[in-house]
Amino acid sequence: MHHQHEGKLPTRNIPIRDFVSDTVCIPMGMHLGAPSKPCVNKGDLVKLGQVIGEPVGGLGLPVHASVSGEVVAVEERQLLGAAPGMCVVIRNDFADEWVEGIQGYGNVETVDPAVVIPAIKAAGICGMGGASFPTHVKLSIPEGKTCDTIILNGAECETFLTADFRLMLECPGKIVDGLRAVMRALNVKRGVIAIEDNKPEAIETMRKAASGREGVEIAIMRTKYPQGGEKQLIKAVTGREVPSGKLPIEVHTIVMNVGTAAAVADAVIDGRPLIDRITTVTGCVQRPANLRLRIGTIIGDVIGECGGFSEEPGKIVFGGGMTGLCVPDTDVPMTKANNGIVVYNVKDARSVDESPCIRCGRCVEACPIGLDPYRIKHYCDKGDLEAAKQHHVLDCILCGCCSYNCPARRWLTASFKNTKDAIALEARRKK
């Protein structure tokens, strides 16, 4: 829609570098599902990769120590959500000593397919593209459903972010290994790595890495936000349309982020839990960068590593410009799903006041799902949940295209999110 303003240039050609801070604050609720239960106490010494949070419930995931050192606090902190979340704070001793018992399974082409999904769960992997859905649950195909294609999402259509792009350039082998591990685990014959055509270098590198690997192909996508949306990607790659209200498995497809695939490769080959991830830091910082950050790194430290703010910050966003979440201050920690930190200056951060709808229909043209945002917004403002549902507000993927294009600067996406939450709340109350 607006790839001319994608903002990827400052970090596009900057190689990934490591950054480890001296204190990390690891939230227990980084994945979709019930937060994990902390299983360490203040004063404990933990090693790298040690389980510090035990999974709770069906969507539960373990959380691992991302540095070695002393646990200095186990407490509730205000994170990005509505209510404070439990966090484990660890002071790093920089020994980086791995916990005993980390055991991999070696080559993904020879590994027993049955061990892959348990290894993914044990490594605490959730979707790293932003939605943070537990990967082992996504890969557990429900009874009666079949999967014939696994798509790796390397589109990275979100503005500002270059983390997946750098990962594809620098660790292409890992991504292909991760894809092969999952394909073998589910006995799927076709794996597609989908990349937008604004990343020719990544297409070239991935093509080289994939050559000679069974069933792995590269698909080149048009650069167009939201090309990397799950349903949009499936449509573009396979031509299949996911029915309203259904999951991709309905059309025999599973979509994973390239970062998730790389984490899967680490988990299967080396038995390494998810303790770090690649994040783009850009916007008003002195030295924009692509950093490999330990989970739980405080963003104030990250911005310090990038030379501090270059202008007075107006807004700091986790994720990209279109779907990112605002953070209240610089004490917030990194999570498994956080692929970017974007700092806006005061001028860019300011919102413009909402004005009445002029019925220009630009939101209708922009909507990748084919909804009528202006009309749904009317029902959302009235609080008419039934009518909003009838106009398919639940199919909205919250990509933000309508709000971006609206000349009246109406809060379309925000009100749809509100309404979707209200509908979910009402359904829970009825139960």
């Binding site: 205000q78 994170l79 990005l80 959500g81 509505a82 209510a83 404070p84 807004k315 979440l325 605002c326 953070v327 209240p328 201050d329 917030v332 951060a349 300011r350 919102s351 909402e354 609080g383 809060w411 925000a414 009100s415 999110k417 509100n418 939450d421 209200a422």
Partner: protein
Amino acid sequence: MDWVPVILAFSVLGVIGLVFGVVLSLADKKLKVETDPRIGQVREVLGGANCGACGFAGCDAFAEAVVEGKARPNGCPAANAEAIGAILGISVEQGEKMVARVICQGHNGVATERYQYDGYKSCATAAGVAGGPKACRFACIGLGDCEKVCAFGAISMENGIAKIDENRCVACGNCVDKCPRNVIRITPADAKVIVLCRNSDSGRVARAACMKACIACQRCVKTCKYGAIAVENGFARIDPEKCTRCGECAKVCPCGCIVDYSVVTPREA
């Protein structure tokens, strides 16, 4: 000019009209559905906002139910129950007058601001952004979700929090359901002395979040001669049954979070 077609048209239409008129008047007599005239009279007395506080689908449904004896005549908080009683020919006691009250005094400048919120003007959205723009996670957010659902125009946003006009409020409870912070409570209108805070954090944290937060210091509990005040979950609460509205607790409260409405009007509080 030839007048015949004109006269013909008039007379044909006139005859058709006459026939239909007779048929309709006969149908009206024959097929008449008996409705109780009292339903209309009761409906006149009701608020007419279809707020739903009575538990029925709207004012019409409630009026019908009252006349049929399926609803309590004092079930509508917006109507004069005695007037309904007069229509029905029975004596009805007006229910206790209740009002919705915002249990928060976290005005701009009183409550500590965590960040400046500049997004979609909705409390539900703001509450989901890192716990809301105010440091107190129990505070009224003040973006007017309740104002939008109030059918009686009783709620306005003043200085960062919701204000309820007690004369207009009928305690229908729509705002209570809408508030993402659960900060509005239905209380008896004559409960003039109330604790306007429900922050259950420790005193230190609560004080840092708001200058008018209850810090659970227990001074009100010790002052109250009637045992009407209890501190539970980190904030004080007055039992309106035991409270004599003497207002002594409001005088000793170091944080000013107990308000005596018989001394200050709700507007000033």
